[in-house]
């Protein structure tokens, strides 16, 4: 999967350090992702996964080192990125439909296209019945799904996903996993996907990056050499299960 992309890296981190005050959160991160790669980030709670994503997004600046997205400073590459935050971050005064339309609205898309795209994505996350609700009327999982739909309305070249499915039931989660892979196959964006599920990481990615904690460092990068086409059947296969065990173990060892 790495080979099918051209060799210019889409995202590149070199000697990246991040400190908050005195404490070093990320230490010497060197990593690059080519176009179309699907990278999962796993690691103990508080090890710096969200911070890393925010650095790639240009929301946090680096204390040391360099981050480049599509050859640019991340701040200039915002148009090519979409971010699903760990919290849903919905605007409390907007209904589900308007919340989902927001990024397109900010980009000045026509109302028509906006409404349509938002509807489509809300359907994908099974929220067609809740278009007119306000965030406080939603369950935690529903809020997260709105946030997912919102990010998917954009057609990004880099997608940053921070535990998007943590609050969802297995079935919805599996369905969304497959949807995500389908869209990815079509649009070939580069994904950074934070998850706590080894199974999910293996199912989705071509590379799993294992971070250790205190400070966050890359402890291992596991290449997932599974067929490009992935479906429910794959989950039963032993190759898959071996990878899951491998990732699981890797996570346990960094603790």
């Amino acid at each position: 999967m790495t080979t099918n992309s051209n060799n210019i890296p889409m995202v590149r981190l070199a000697g990246a350090h991040k400190r908050f005050g005195e404490t070093t959160v990320l230490e010497d991160i060197n990593f690059q992702a080519a176009k179309g790669e699907f990278i999962s980030l796993v690691g103990p709670s508080g090890c710096g996964k969200s911070t890393l994503l925010k650095i790639i997004a240009g929301l946090h600046s680096l204390s040391e080192g360099e981050v480049v997205v599509d050859g640019m400073n991340p701040k200039n590459a915002r148009e090519e990125m979409a971010f699903i935050f760990q919290e849903a971050n919905l605007l409390p005064w907007k209904r589900v439909q308007q919340n989902t339309e927001l990024p397109l609205k900010l980009r000045g898309e026509s109302t028509e296209r906006r409404v349509e795209t938002a509807r489509k994505m809300l359907e994908l996350v099974n929220l067609s019945h809740a278009l007119d609700k306000f965030p406080w009327q939603l369950s935690g999982g529903m809020r997260m799904r709105v946030s997912i739909a919102r990010a998917l309305t954009l057609a990004p070249r880099v997608l940053l996903l921070d535990e998007p499915f943590g609050a969802l039931d297995e079935m919805t989660r599996d369905n969304l996993n497959e949807d995500l892979l389908r869209i990815h196959a079509r649009d070939q964006w580069t994904a950074f996907f934070v998850t706590h599920s080894a199974a999910e990481a293996v199912f989705l990615s071509n590379k799993v990056v294992v971070l250790s904690a205190n400070p966050g460092r890359i402890s291992q990068v596991i290449e997932i050499d599974l067929p490009k086409e992935r479906n429910a059947e794959l989950r039963e296969g032993s190759a898959y299960l071996n990878y899951v065990a491998k990732v699981s173990n890797a996570i346990r060892t960094v603790h």
Binding site: A82, F83, F85, W93, L106, F134
Partner: protein, 272 residues
């Protein structure tokens, strides 16, 4: 049914407390009158019924001056709210704007009206424009202070969301900071609403005139005061209060209307 009795109850409360206040008032007036004589009591703490009968007998004059003051108060209020709002957005638009302008906004607020009044009168002449300008001066700062505070209190996470969407500063203010600051802004507006009639009355004191035989409420205040028509003075104050209630009532309605869908201050609690 429960809700009807609740409604009655909630109407009874201010009435009851009003009755208590009235009773205390009567007691104090009565006690004061007994010790110094009722002629003196009348011009120091008139009985409530003396005030209402003064209100009735002066109704025509008061009605005319109230109309005049209401107009200045309304224009001043609208100006204070809209200019204050615009100014807050300007101040929030960039740190350097705030650094450069905020101190001077404060200076404007803190300059005693007695210093500014002659300048206003000189530029705008005696009457409505000057009174309005003074009303504006008195009411605009609470709007600015509150709205600015609301605009800078915006949740970091939502700001991140907007940054990721490549939102322009204008979009960020319009679509995020402004609605986020709405509860603050409305509170500022409520304060401005209570200040507007007071501002118009002060404006009247400095820049009003009796053109056409009637002055505004401020003019009547001095008049009654200098003639020691104290029940009439209190009646005038009552009218000023009622004017204020109209403003505050409108703001409260706006508060409910704008925030009912999402903000805890206006949302009816679902449970219990």
């Amino acid at each position: 049914m429960a809700s009807t009795s609740k409604k009655i109850q909630s109407a009874l409360l201010p009435i009851t407390s009003g009755a208590i206040i009235l009773a205390v008032w009567y007691l104090i007036s009565y006690w004061y009158g007994r010790s110094v004589g009722y002629d003196v009591q009348r011009i120091i703490i008139p009985f409530p019924h003396q005030i209402t009968s003064a209100l009735w007998s002066e109704r025509e004059v008061l009605w005319q001056s109230t109309r005049q003051t209401a107009l200045s108060a309304l224009i001043g209020f609208v100006a204070a709210v809209s200019v204050g709002y615009a100014l807050s957005m300007l101040l929030a638009s960039a740190v350097w704007v705030k650094k450069a302008l905020y101190p001077w906004v404060l200076v404007l607020q803190m300059t005693p009206v007695v210093v500014l009044a002659p300048i206003f009168v000189l530029w705008m002449g005696q009457g409505l424009p000057s009174i309005t300008a003074i009303t504006f001066m008195i009411g605009f700062f609470p709007v600015v202070a509150n709205t600015t505070m609301g605009l800078v209190s915006t949740d970091r996470n939502l700001l991140d969301l907007f940054e990721m969407s490549n939102a322009t500063k204008a979009q960020e203010i319009l679509h995020l900071r402004v609605p986020y600051a709405m509860p603050y802004f409305l509170t500022g507006m409520k304060i401005a609403g209570t200040l507007a009639p007071i501002g118009a009355i002060s404006g009247d004191l400095f820049a009003g005139s009796s053109q056409g035989g009637v002055g505004g409420i401020g003019y009547m205040v001095i008049l009654y005061n200098s003639q020691l028509k104290i029940p009439e003075l209190f009646a005038t104050a009552l009218v000023a209060c009622m004017l204020g209630f109209v403003f505050v009532g409108c703001v409260n309605w706006l508060h409910w209307y704008l925030l009912k869908d999402w903000h805890d201050s206006a949302r009816k609690v679902e449970n219990t």
